[in-house]
């Protein structure tokens, strides 16, 4: 049994599962994410959200395969891959794997050092590029990601604090396909991290509990902590903030790929890009990072993250 403060109730295993499935079904229906015949590619990382999403979609009878990207973040990535592979094997599911170093000659710690930028920048860029590419290349109708309500509320808070109107107009549980980009959906957008973790525990799903060592202390985590503090005092605040945005603000400001200018194609990889004369951001990252000597993950962590990493995985 688990308590869900925003619902002011305790939920037994059966009703927790019922709640989660209904919320996912509602998200799929409300936002017309995909139909029963769709071939869905689920971006899986070994964390609770992506594995719970995959589990739920399969449980609901959808044709859902997984895509795992090996980011080269030391033991964290090794454990993530092991857990994801085991999840797929135990259920007879198809898992595609792309290893960043094997296919592109770099990993995230090395990219962070080579570009002198925060690791999450190279990570996000690489994942988006590979998810888009593989979804199209493998012929899937839609890419589903495990972004949950906490994730979306934190992003919304950040976009609002910065008044980043461009991002606010595109924050939605569905990104329409267009101009070479596949359709992308977030079926967990109505569910919190607490509910996803409870789903995994109740269903006996093994997942990576530890945070990515490169994400410790980042701004996104800070926004989540702030929202959770508000939710502790007034349960339901996060949901009200994000779902209220979807209901009342997003319809007024939402933009779609069709309403934006058509991009060019990268002269190097052919992916949608702002220019057909210079390589896209991912190709530029690949060029810079693959030329750099490999860097162990510990060397690009801040002091706090390094202590946590050593405590969890031991010193390299």
């Amino acid at each position: 049994m688990v308590d869900l403060p925003r619902h002011n109730a305790n939920f037994c295993a059966i009703h927790l599962q019922q709640l989660c499935v209904r919320q996912v079904q509602r998200a799929i229906s409300d936002f017309s994410m995909f139909d029963d015949s769709a071939r869905i590619l689920v971006a899986v990382s070994g964390g609770k959200d992506s594995l719970a999403l995959w589990d739920m979609l399969v449980e609901l009878g959808y044709r859902a395969d997984g895509l795992y990207i090996g980011l080269g973040i030391g033991e964290y990535s090794e454990e993530s891959h092991r857990i994801t592979s085991a999840f797929a094997t135990e259920r007879g599911l198809t898992l595609h794997t792309v290893d960043l170093r094997d296919e592109h000659g770099f990993d995230i710690p090395t990219a962070a050092r080579a570009t002198r930028r925060v690791p999450c920048s190279a990570c996000g860029l690489s994942k988006r590029h590979i998810f888009d590419r593989e979804t199209t290349r493998l012929g899937y109708d839609v890419l589903a990601t495990g972004h949950n309500l906490d994730d979306e509320a934190a992003v919304l808070l950040g976009n609002t604090i910065r008044w980043d109107v461009d991002y606010l107009t595109r924050q939605y549980p569905v990104l329409e396909a267009g101009h070479g980009f596949p359709r992308k959906v977030k079926p967990l957008a109505r569910l919190t991290e607490r509910e996803m973790a409870a789903w995994c525990v109740i269903r006996g799903i093994d997942y990576v509990v530890e945070e990515c060592p490169m994400a410790i202390g980042n701004r996104h985590s800070g926004y989540k902590e702030t929202l959770n503090e508000m939710d502790e005092r007034s349960p339901g605040t996060k949901a009200s903030f994000y779902l209220g945005f979807l209901d009342r603000m997003a319809p007024l400001i939402r933009s779609t790929p069709a309403s934006q200018g058509a991009p060019e194609a990268c002269p190097s990889c052919g992916a949608p890009s702002s220019s057909s004369e210079t390589p896209c951001a991912f190709c530029r990252l690949e060029s810079t990072a693959s030329a750099h000597e490999p860097v162990p993950v510990r060397m690009v962590l801040n002091r706090t993250a390094r202590r946590a990493f050593d405590a969890q995985w031991g010193e390299e």
């Binding site: 049994m1 688990v2 403060p5 609770k48 525990v201 509990v209 530890e210 945070e211």
Partner: protein
């Protein structure tokens, strides 16, 4: 009772006979951000924890 924590992994010994939410409060942890798993079973945070229990306090927030 044994209380197992994460990020980083560690164990602390605490006296039983207290509600889980009180233990969370003493450890400076939020209810919304943590699940309580007592002797392998997920329990709500108003559960009384007793001497001899093995309690995992599992963080649910992922930063990636």
């Amino acid at each position: 009772m044994i209380v197992r924590l994460r990020q980083p992994r560690r164990e602390v010994e605490m006296a039983g006979g207290r509600a889980a939410y009180a233990v969370l409060h003493d450890l400076g942890l939020s209810r919304e951000g943590h699940l309580i798993i007592r002797n392998g079973t997920l329990v709500p945070s108003d559960t009384m924890l007793e001497d001899g229990d093995v309690v995992e306090i599992r963080p649910v927030i992922s930063g990636g």
